[in-house]
Point group: D3
Chain length 248, copies 6
Amino acid sequence: MRIRVINPNASASMTAIAEECARAVAAPGTIIEGATNTMGPLSIESHYDEALSVPGLLAEIARGEAEGVDGYVIACFGDPGLDAARELARGPVIGIAEAAMQAASHLGRGFSVVTTLSRTIGRAAELAERYGMDRFCFGLHACEIPVLELEDPKARTVIADACREAVHADNSDAIVLGCAGMADLCEYLTREVGVPVIDGVTAATLTVQSLVTMGLRKSGRGEYARPLPKQYTGILSGFTLDDQEVRS
Amino acid sequence: MRIRVINPNASASMTAIAEECARAVAAPGTIIEGATNTMGPLSIESHYDEALSVPGLLAEIARGEAEGVDGYVIACFGDPGLDAARELARGPVIGIAEAAMQAASHLGRGFSVVTTLSRTIGRAAELAERYGMDRFCFGLHACEIPVLELEDPKARTVIADACREAVHADNSDAIVLGCAGMADLCEYLTREVGVPVIDGVTAATLTVQSLVTMGLRKSGRGEYARPLPKQYTGILSGFTLDDQEVRS
Amino acid sequence: MRIRVINPNASASMTAIAEECARAVAAPGTIIEGATNTMGPLSIESHYDEALSVPGLLAEIARGEAEGVDGYVIACFGDPGLDAARELARGPVIGIAEAAMQAASHLGRGFSVVTTLSRTIGRAAELAERYGMDRFCFGLHACEIPVLELEDPKARTVIADACREAVHADNSDAIVLGCAGMADLCEYLTREVGVPVIDGVTAATLTVQSLVTMGLRKSGRGEYARPLPKQYTGILSGFTLDDQEVRS
Amino acid sequence: MRIRVINPNASASMTAIAEECARAVAAPGTIIEGATNTMGPLSIESHYDEALSVPGLLAEIARGEAEGVDGYVIACFGDPGLDAARELARGPVIGIAEAAMQAASHLGRGFSVVTTLSRTIGRAAELAERYGMDRFCFGLHACEIPVLELEDPKARTVIADACREAVHADNSDAIVLGCAGMADLCEYLTREVGVPVIDGVTAATLTVQSLVTMGLRKSGRGEYARPLPKQYTGILSGFTLDDQEVRS
Amino acid sequence: MRIRVINPNASASMTAIAEECARAVAAPGTIIEGATNTMGPLSIESHYDEALSVPGLLAEIARGEAEGVDGYVIACFGDPGLDAARELARGPVIGIAEAAMQAASHLGRGFSVVTTLSRTIGRAAELAERYGMDRFCFGLHACEIPVLELEDPKARTVIADACREAVHADNSDAIVLGCAGMADLCEYLTREVGVPVIDGVTAATLTVQSLVTMGLRKSGRGEYARPLPKQYTGILSGFTLDDQEVRS
Amino acid sequence: MRIRVINPNASASMTAIAEECARAVAAPGTIIEGATNTMGPLSIESHYDEALSVPGLLAEIARGEAEGVDGYVIACFGDPGLDAARELARGPVIGIAEAAMQAASHLGRGFSVVTTLSRTIGRAAELAERYGMDRFCFGLHACEIPVLELEDPKARTVIADACREAVHADNSDAIVLGCAGMADLCEYLTREVGVPVIDGVTAATLTVQSLVTMGLRKSGRGEYARPLPKQYTGILSGFTLDDQEVRS
C-alpha cells in the first residue's frame, strides 16, 4: 500500500517532518511518500495562502493517480482542497484536521486546538463544524508563532505553555495540534502537558491506511464523481481533464 | 462608486449576462464593470472547477484594488474564494449565494434553491449553513442542465418546471436561482412560477452598493486583515504579495 | 420609491434621528418618510413595552398601504410586529435587527451587539437565532443607558467604552448597535472603536430599497398572505379588516 | 390556589371549553377561572390576529394580579404575549404550546402537531424551537378547519383523519393538538388514533398547578422583572404602569 | 394514584429524603412510595456507577408493574435507565433531570445546574441536550461534595456558595440542583441565593402526577413498546421476560 | 498489540463472525481476541436488552485490564456502556457505531444506516448526534430481521434490498450496517448495492489499532478517570472496585 503525504506548503523541510511522523506509525507494508507543493505559498497562514495552495495540491493528486498511489494525506490543518482532491482521487484523501479531531473525539469529552497564528482560528472552527466535531471542540487557541518559525528550538516551550493554558481554560481532555509543522512535537508536548496531544499527520496517515485496508473508497456516483472533462485557460491550462481518464 | 462583477467562469457571454443584470438595478452614479476569469475553467460544475477558479478570481481582485474599485461581486453560486478575496480587498466582496439567500430570507418562511447539476447541491447546502441561511433553505434541487447550456432557449422551460416542483415539494415562499448563468431568467420565472424568484447577481450588486454607501468595510485587524507578504512558487509566483501594499 | 421608517417608540425626537439617518443613505429618487407610533410606549425596554408597541406599528402599516408606500423599516431593535406587518404590507418590511446583523455578517467572522438595558439582551439573542445570525453573533452587551437618555451628550462615551469592551471580550470584527436611538452615533463610534459599527436603521433602509428595486415582494400565498378579514373587539375594533382590501 | 385560563380569542364559547377541560384535571383545592379577551380578534389565525390579541391578554393578566390570582394559562397555541405576561405576573404563566410539547416529550421519541390552518404552522415551528422541543417535533400538519368551525360536529372526523395521517407520515409516538379549541376532542381522538393525544390547555393547567405547588416563581431580577413604569399613548394609555405596583 | 420514587443509589437515607420531598408536594389522593436499589452502587458518581445502577432500577420497575403502580420517578440526576424503564412500565417514568430542567425553563431565560462532583457534569450536559434543554442551560457547576457527604450539615453552605457563583457567572434566572441527595435543601437555598432553586424529585413527582391525571401514557407501539421476551444469562437470568406479561 | 472484540450479545456465533472480520483487517502483530457476554441478553433489540448487556460488558473490560489488553471494540451498534468502559480501561475503547459513522464520513456527503428492527432506530439516531455524525447521517432504515435471524441465508437479499432503497431514498453515498451480526455481509452488499458498505466491527478494530499505535489514551484526569472505589450490593457486589487498582 502506498500513501502519499502531500504538504500544501512549498516547504521541503516541513514535508520531511510530516513524512517522518507518518512513517513512524505506518504498518509494515505501507509505503509512505512525501510530496511538496511546487506551485504555491512557502507557508499557509491566511485564506489567500490556502486558496493558492490548492492548484499545487491537485497537481500532486493527479500525479499520484498516474503513479497508482492508494491514498493521500493533506498535511495542512486547513485541509485545503479536500473536496476537489476527493473528486480527483480513486482512493481516500484525508485532511489532518478531520483525522486529528476524530481521533481526539475518542479520548474524552472534548479537546482544545492549539494552532499558529490567531488569524487561522476561524478556518479551524469552520472545519470543526463541517466534520461534526464542533461539539468536541472546547476551544481554539493560537501560540502566535508563524509556521516557518516552528522549527526554532524556542518554539516548543511557547507551544507547551499555550497547550497548558488551553487545557486549563477549556477544561479539555486532549490537545489537537493545529499545524502539520508541529507534528514532531507530539511526544514532547504529551509529556509536558499531561493530556494526550494529537498530531493530524499521524492520525490522517492511519485513517487512510485503515480505509484502504477495508477497501473503502467513494462510490463513483454523485457529488464526488470524477470532475467532468473541461478546458482550463491561462496559466492553469495544464489542469484540463480529458475523457480518457480511468474511472474508479 | 465602482462595483466590479467578477465571473469566476472563463465565459465572456456569461459575464455579459451578469453585467447587464447588475447594471439594471444599480443606483444612478454606481458604475458596474464586468470581469471574466482569465485563468480557470470555462464553467464551474465540480469542486475541482471551483478550486481552480480561485486564482483567476484573486487576480481580478488584485487588479481591481490597483484600479481603485469600491466593491466586488463574485458571480458564481459556490461563492468561490470569498474569504481570500475579503482579505485582499479593502471594500466589500459579496458572493451571489449569500446575497440571494439573505434577500430570500425577507420574503417568507423559507426558500428553495434551483441549481444546474445535482453534484453542486452539496456545496450550496454547505454555504447555506455557513451563512446561517440553512433554517430558511427548505430544499435544494437540480434541473440537470450544464452551465454552458443555460443560454439554450429550451432551458428556460425546464428550469421553470424545476422551480414549480421545488415550491410544491418544499412548500416554500421563494426560489433562489443557483447559478449566475440564470440571472436573466428572473422575470420570466417569477411570472411562470408565481412566487418571487431571486437572482444572486442582482442581489449581491445591491448588497455591495449598500455596504459602500454606508461606508462599511472590514476592520483591518484579525482574520480578514491583508495576507502577510509571502513568496509564491512555480506558475503562481505572480501572486506573491509585497510589503508596499496600501493597507485599508 | 417611498420608504416609510416607522418608529414603534412614541418618541418624535427618536423618529427624527432615524429619519435623518435613513435619508442620508437613500438613493436619489427614494423618498424617506418617518412615522411615530401614536398608540404605545414612549420607549421600548421590556417585552411588555414591545408587545404594546405593535398595534400602533400595524396602524402605521395600514395607513402606509392606503397611501401607496413601497416598503417599511421597523425602527426598533426588537423588530416588533415584523411577521404581522409582513402579512399586512404588499411590499417589503424589514426590522433593523435583521438588517444590521446581515450587514455585519459580511464584515468578518462575527459581531458584538451593544444595546441599552441588559433586560433587552434576551430578545436580541432570540432574534439573532431566528435570522440565522447567531453563528455570527459573538456576544451581546448592555451599556445600561435607558432609551430616552441616549440623546444625553454624556451617553456617547459610555457607549464607546461598551463597544471597546465588547470587541475585546468577544474578539469580534464589528459592532451592531442595539437601538434605533443610537443611529446617529455610528460615525463617532466607528472612529473611536476602530471596527465597523452598524446602525440598523440605515441598513434596513437600504435593504428595503434593494428589495423594491429588484421588485421582490412576498408571494401572496401561504403564511404571509394577507390576514383573513375578521372582527376585532373593544378598543381594538378599528383593526377589523374587511374583504375589499386590494391584494398584492 | 387560583389559576386563570385566559383565552386570547374573543370567543366566550371557546373559553367555556378550555375552562371545562382545565377544571377536569385540577387538583382538589385548585380553582379554575376562565377569562375571555375583551379587546382582540374573535379567533387567532394569523400573525396579525396574534399580535392584536396581546393587549387584551395583558389586560387580563393585570386584572388577575390585582385580584390575587396565583398563575395563568394562555389558551392559544401561538402562546401570544408569553414573555410580556411573565414580566407582569408574579406567579407562573404557561402557554399551551409549551406545556403540550413538554408533556409529549415524555411519551416517546417524537410527536406530531395537528393544527387548524396551514398558515399557522410557521409560528408553531418557531415555538417548538424556542422551547427546545423541535427535536421531539417530527412534523406539523394542518386540518384546514378555521378556529370558529372547530365546534361543528363534522370537524372531529376531519381532525381524526389528519391525526392518523400525521402519525403515519412522521412515524410519531403522540399527537399534540395545535389549538385550544380542540381541547375537548382529546379523549375521542386518543381512542380513534391509537396514540396519546395531548391538549395543551389541560397540560398547561397542570404545569401551572405544579409550579405553584412547588412555590416556584421568577426571580424578580433580570429580563423578566416587572416592566419599568412608563407612559403609554393613544388608545393604549390605559396600559401605563405606575411605581406603586407591588413587586414579587 | 400510586407513584413510586425509585432511588438508583443503594442508600436508604437518601431514599427517605426523596420520599419526603415528593410527599410534600403530592396532591391529596396521590400515594408516594419510596424504593431503594437493592443491587447497585451505594452512590452514583461515575458512568460506571450509573451503568451498574440500572439493573436494580429495572427490577424495581418490574416489581412496581406487578404491584399496579401508576408511575415512577427515577431519583438520580443522571436519569439512569430511563429508556429501558419506559419500555417496561405501562405508565409514565420521569427522570429528575428532565423534570427539573423543564420546570426551570418556565422561570426565565436560562438556568444553572449545580451538582456534586465535576466528573458528572458531562452526563448532565448530555441530558440537557437530549431533552432540548441545552438552550436554557447556561452553565453546569460542581460543588465537589461526594453524594454521601451531602447530608453533612456543613455541605449546605458550600452548596449555597456554589449556587451564588453559578448565578453570577452564568447570569442565570434559576438553579437546578444536580443530585437527588440535595432535594431537602431547596427552601434553604432559595432563601440564600435569591433565585428560584429547583429540586428534580419534587418536579418529577408532579410531572408524573400530571401525566397520570391526564391519562397520558406511551402508545404501546414503536420504540417504547414492551421489550421482546428474551432469555438472559448468568447472574442476570432473573431479568428474562416471558410472553405472559400484560400489555398496556 | 492485543485488541479484544467484546460482543455484548450473549451469542457465541455472532462473536465468531465479529472476531473473524476483525482479524481480516488487523495489521501483522495485532492479536484479535473475541469475547462473548456471559451475563446478559442473547441478542440486543431494545433499550432493556441494551441496558442489561452492560454489566457483562464491563466484566469483560475488567478481565481484559487484568490480562493486559491494549484496547477494546464494543461489537454492538448501540455502543452500550461506552462511557463506563472508557472509565475502566486504560487503553482505547471504541464502539462500532462511532467507528463506522466516522469512516463513512470520509466517503461522501452522507450515509444511510441500515439496521435490524425499527425499534432500534431511535438509539442509532441518538448516537449519530452524540458523535457529531448526524450531519452525515441522511437516513436510518430497518430491514425488520431480528438479530438472531441474520445468519439465515435468506436474510442477505432482504438486507441488500433495504440498502438499495436507503441509498435511493436518502441520496446517500455509503451504507453503514447497523448491527455487528451483519459484519460478514460487507463484501456481498458492496457488490450488490454499488456504494461502499461499512461494517463497524472492522472499522472499530482499525480505530483501536490506530489509537494504540499512536500511543493515544485518555488523560487520566476528569470525567473519564477511573471510577472511585465503591461498594456494590446484591447480585452486582462483584463489581465493587477497590483502591489497589493500577492507574493508567
